[in-house]
Assembly symmetry: C2
Homo-oligomer: 354 residues x 2
């Protein structure tokens, strides 16, 4: 038996239809989509042969055809039209990839994963507040005439550094002068003020110097930026174990809320360190059937965050409460501004770069 062009065309139609509907495709549907008009009976003959050849299969006698793996393979290797990405899509992809994660985000995301896998419920973690980081000191380490390493010492004993490629060629001996300028005018102030200060200096500095300075300031501003409000949710998988989410619909609905739930998740509790919201006590409609347990933790002195867990109303409150508060405490300690040297630190005798 031979794989004629018409057979291929039919196979392609079957695959593409099945991809979108997940339903076996019938001869009539195919006939309607064929280039050259043919009757469904003809298609049926062809289908029978394609089935015999192993490219298609029938879930049961009176159903349409679905592709077999062999059928998909042929489709992928020969029939599929390679798509080109639109320019917009390419740009979107690159944009997402280039959004660097801030350090805090990474910690928070990890905490979320940990909580969720510990408790077997979906977890969410937020960080809110108006933390004002300020620069305590600038250092510039010359690398060559185009590059230097900028090192910022920030409030809370944090250090950030990055290689900076200068817009102008710089005599390495100029770097100390630049650093001095930075330290003289731009330390101990909020990021917002830096712009003003820079303006004040416009007239006192030669143009190239000013240019370099503004570049450095911009870089510093970047580093000072801490996410204001970030919500990360993870662990949706855990929901599926629970009988109340047996049907995927419900589970999916809840997960969607969690995934982009920004506004819907319970707000910081004003009172104690721990809050339990049961079913209808939740404000968000989507959570009316679920309970939420939230604990708050401190991020340094000025920010606060929440770790929460979402589950069915019949969640194991006792276990959740205990573990969640353990996590909250752990996070608070982890994010303390002046961390006491921990046992671990002593052991390997170091702080950590990073």
């Amino acid at each position: 038996m031979e794989l004629t062009d018409r057979k291929k065309q039919i196979l392609k139609i079957v695959v593409e239809n099945y991809i979108h509907t997940a339903e076996p495709v019938g001869s009539k549907t195919i006939a309607a989509r064929m280039e050259r008009r043919v009757s469904s009976a003809t298609i049926r003959n062809e289908l029978a042969e394609l089935t015999e050849m192993g490219y298609l299969e029938q879930p049961h006698t009176s159903a349409g055809r679905a592709p077999t793996p062999k059928g998909y393979r042929l489709y992928v290797d020969e029939l599929m039209e390679r798509q080109r990405l639109s320019l917009r899509e390419t740009e979107e992809i690159n944009a997402v990839l280039h959004t660097r994660l801030k350090e805090l985000d990474a910690i928070i995301a990890q905490a979320g994963r940990a909580v969720s896998s510990f408790l077997n419920y979906p977890a969410y973690v937020t960080a809110t507040g108006k933390k004002q980081l300020i620069v305590r000191r600038f250092d510039l380490i010359p690398v060559d005439e185009w590059n230097c390493i900028g090192v910022l010492m920030l409030s809370g004993n944090r250090v950030k550094s990055h290689l900076i490629r200068m817009q102008l060629k710089v005599d390495p001996e100029q770097f100390p002068a630049l650093a001095n300028l930075l330290n003289a005018h731009f330390t101990e102030i909020a990021a917002a003020e830096m712009g003003e200060r820079l303006m004040d200096l416009t007239e006192q500095l030669p143009a190239p110097m000013f240019l370099l300075l503004s570049q450095l300031i911009a870089a510093a501003g970047d580093a000072l930026e801490e996410q204001q409000q970030k919500i990360i949710t993870t662990g949706a998988r855990a929901l599926l174990k629970l009988p109340e989410f047996r049907d995927a619909e419900k589970a999916h609905a809840l997960m969607s809320v969690l995934a982009d739930g920004k506004e819907n998740l319970p707000v910081p509790s004003d009172a104690g360190p721990m809050k339990i919201l049961i079913g209808p006590e939740n404000v968000a409609d989507a959570l009316k059937d679920t309970s939420v347990v939230v604990a708050s933790y401190d991020i340094g002195d000025d920010m606060r965050g929440l770790v929460g867990v979402v589950g069915p109303t019949r969640m194991d409150y006792a276990a959740v409460v205990a573990r969640l508060s353990g996590f909250a405490d752990g996070l608070t300690r982890l994010l303390e501004v002046h961390p006491a040297p921990s046992k671990e630190d002593k052991q390997n005798g170091t702080g950590k770069y990073g």
Copy 2:
């Protein structure tokens, strides 16, 4: 009507049973668990009153009772026994939280999230290889007599820095000497060799100097460590939209494989940059009903990684192939060793600290 102690005890039993079974609890079950032996009829009387008072509800006349939100509330506020975490659990929690994420992990995790949300299939990202980062240069910026900022310039133009609290008080003027030692003996070599070199110096240095040096070397070693093999999976949620995973069982099974699937996921394709595995072509049993599309990307010069997507056999191969290769290209470019200054960088005129 009064909330007697017995009523409370009954309520507690109902809640705790319901928490574990998700099934309405009947009078007989309760009777069996009561402290003081009573008949099920007595329990039924009490249940009727608890129901009337709004603490319990009946899904239908001939079913047992389940707690109402009000019932849970009472349980949480009064009846629940606060659990204490075992020491082991507390330690586990702290251990997870203290595992800092390496930079590469964060990028990879983010890429995974992006892929999955773009393509609406679960995604996994791996990084494998034996990347040897080496230190190009050390700098130590004195802060006070106890602290300094260590700045490492690494191969691939990466910079890392961290505040280091020294084990001994150090005269700030000693830092340049320490840095010189480091630069003289510990640059341009693999992390593994550092230990040996350090040993070689044992006798040539005064003890305190040696101590400080080893502390700094340990910190550097930490920074050089790049994850060797890391698999991150995300986006399980996407599966639930698909009819083939309508029943949560299937979805959950697949997700479990993904979540800790280390060994089961398709291995790096030796050939081209892209590989499609359809249904039974997969080695792992759990993936026999699903297809996997993987693309590989480069991490600098020595490492490779994979971005993959898992979906039903009827996945939209054309779309997935196009977008996935877009991501792979993007990642390769993002992780290039000598990144060309991007448009973005020119725009805001800076590199970024971080």
